[in-house]
Symmetry: D2
Subunit: 240 residues, 4 copies
């Protein structure tokens, strides 16, 4: 499967704490365990030309992973529209953490995608809500993260097609931290964890979720609807 | 309740057949039966200044009804964004017929909202799928329209929160013709019928659906979520 | 509106702590604030003849509230079937707390309705997930209960039609504590709080939720589907 | 994958027209194309001892297919409960056609599962509603069946988790003819076509749907939730 990991890659340049945790960037860390899982992984970052994107690259991508935070507004609308079109045409999209405020996620949801947040070393525990879902295969009842940024309800998203995880936070909040959507012929999964100052993407269970999600997001042999002006399939009676 | 009926109002100017059916415009026809039902109804049309809209008008509107077809692109993005914001803040939105391709509906759905169509005097029969829903109160098992434009699946929308009607068409197609969504603190209802060359909005059962929908779309005393940086509600342990 | 509050009423007879909190039984406490809200409220309990139920009583009930815990198995199947039939015919059903294991709730859900639990004076915080929902009208972002029994995920229910509340528990768990379903022409709301040894039903916000729920569960002028052998509405061509 | 095809197998004994179309029974026809697809297929029928079922057989079954019509009431409750338990434990269940009224489907749905019907050689056209779904892989926009029994809305089922097909009928009705549900750790798919007097299960596209459904219903490596009394994961403060 062809996976494209897109990362804003700004924190890594500015904050030594982040570059220490992710010496090859968040995109590099994700690429590493997905490559090991047998996928063909490419990375792209904001400050590359065209944000590292091209029509050719998007067209051959099965699943796109998106991490952004500081500079959502710098992503050009032209590329957001191209990504949306690719999702509608069947490309999977995994939106991570602060990507909840990315242009592409808001565009696909139609809501503000706002939430409560706090950077205070909260413990997080992600409870499995939907045990039938392929995304939770291999996990126990929950994933525990010693320290994470808190995201709390209300999370202003459409009601998910499937609610996969709900998080408990030490400071007293809850959050719908794993949510699936279908848009057009493509699938979308939002997965909450991954603040840049914590080693979340080195956690084996988080990696399991991301690997499962990539599998689930890949829609092969999709049905191809047709649209537009259509001849009748049955005869239509003449009316007065 | 304060209802705003927005109509593109172009067909009425160009096509005598349409102005004969709707001498006061589609907006006028809808205003008439909603006024009779006791609502305070205002109308606005595309070619008025600011499309007949103002911040003040939108802010005091409980439910906005939208009919457009030929000139979706002429609706200024600025107003589309203001309408979206009002929906997220609690205003109800009833999107009618060819409004499926309006900027505001596509923005709230995140999909192409494409479909099959045909102008061929198809008979349409709208079957009630959800008999508990307030929107179908007072109806029988179905509504029959002698002649309508056909809209057929696949309709490229997110899976509705509630599926209220499915249409049967004489030419052999089906369509999800009544679908509800929540977006932010507001509600959205898409209702299919109403091609400009047929007297659909004079049909009493169609009027019943629109009146029921206006009631259902009106969200009063909505809960007010807060967002942003939040203090913990519980003490957070010091981590290493 | 005619509300019937059904209570097992066994804890109240056995445990002085419970009868001290609810001197007139849990049913009496609920009856009290619903009567004050203007409803016509009847109560019924397990050990009355026919569990206090009759065909006449059920037939005239708009909304039934159900609290049971120790003796689910003593509720006769005959009455469970009659209640199910009334829900399918349009009666609202509010299932409280340990009613998750009642015969009627399991019958309407089709699953085990199992969950994690603990009696350990956990603090509970019920977060509002769906701010558009009439059931949360008048609440803030959450309801806090100083002490409650913990119920934790996984809660083995079908995915709710609407998820209204998610609870945070001091001991580290989360729970889908407010969930709506439609069954037939009736509506069902499951609401988690209300362990017998805590004064939960004296809490004003919990009372607000129950009063809102009673309003929302009442389906008036419901559409009446017909079933069975049906004549064609269109002519059917002769096949070979 | 281990597939068990259960068939009532009464029409085949009574009606020469049926045994001519399905000389090895409906179960035999389904077994044939699933065996060809590489599955290990067993069959069982109503009039065998224990309806052809055993604990051992159910326990090793990945996906159970169910066809019944005349004699739903003769299926012993004991076996219905065992099948329900297996679904909750992860076995897939494909309910075909008149199985909508089977004890097992009604038990898992919690509703009457009633509908309109007619035996009049209606043409049926099953439109794809969810093009992302693996169940429609390999199909075009619709499946057309020259003659089938009509099933019409309202179909008294809970709102499906996913709506995959909607049928158009020549006589004027529509029907939600492909619907998915999760129950416990298992998945359920209801698929409408297959009246005994028509050669529907010999249709290649219908076979494609059944083969796709069997793949989709098979939940491997399911997450295993735990239930019951649970120790706290966090310390709980002493209350007054």
């Amino acid at each position: 499967m062809k996976v494209l990991v897109w990362n804003e890659n700004r924190h890594e340049q500015k904050n030594p704490k982040v570059s220490e945790i992710y010496p090859e960037g968040i995109h590099g860390a994700i690429k590493s365990f997905l490559t090991e899982a047998g996928h063909e992984v490419t990375t792209a970052t904001l400050d590359e030309e065209n944000h590292g994107l091209s029509d050719h690259l998007l067209n051959q991508t099965d699943v796109l992973i998106w991490w952004g935070h500081l500079a959502h507004d710098e992503v050009k609308d032209e590329w957001v529209e191209k990504i949306q079109q690719r999702v509608l045409d069947g490309m999977g999209l995994l939106v991570l953490h602060s990507g909840h405020f990315s242009k592409i996620f808001k565009k696909l949801m139609g809501t503000s995608c706002d939430l409560k947040w706090r950077e205070a070393d909260d413990k997080e525990r992600l409870w499995v809500i939907d045990p039938t879902h392929p995304i939770v295969s291999g996990l126990g009842s929950y994933i525990e993260l010693e320290k994470e940024e808190m995201y709390g309800e209300h999370f202003d998203i459409p009601a998910p097609d499937e609610l996969v995880f709900v998080s408990w936070f030490e400071g007293g909040e809850v959050f719908r931290s794993g949510a699936t959507y279908k848009r057009g012929r493509g699938k979308v999964f939002y997965f909450r964890p991954g603040h840049e100052t914590y080693p979340t993407y080195h956690n084996k269970e988080i990696q399991t979720v991301i690997k499962n999600a990539v599998q689930w997001l890949n829609v092969t042999d999709t049905n191809q609807p047709t649209y537009g002006n259509s001849e009748p399939l049955e005869s239509i009676s003449k009316k007065g």
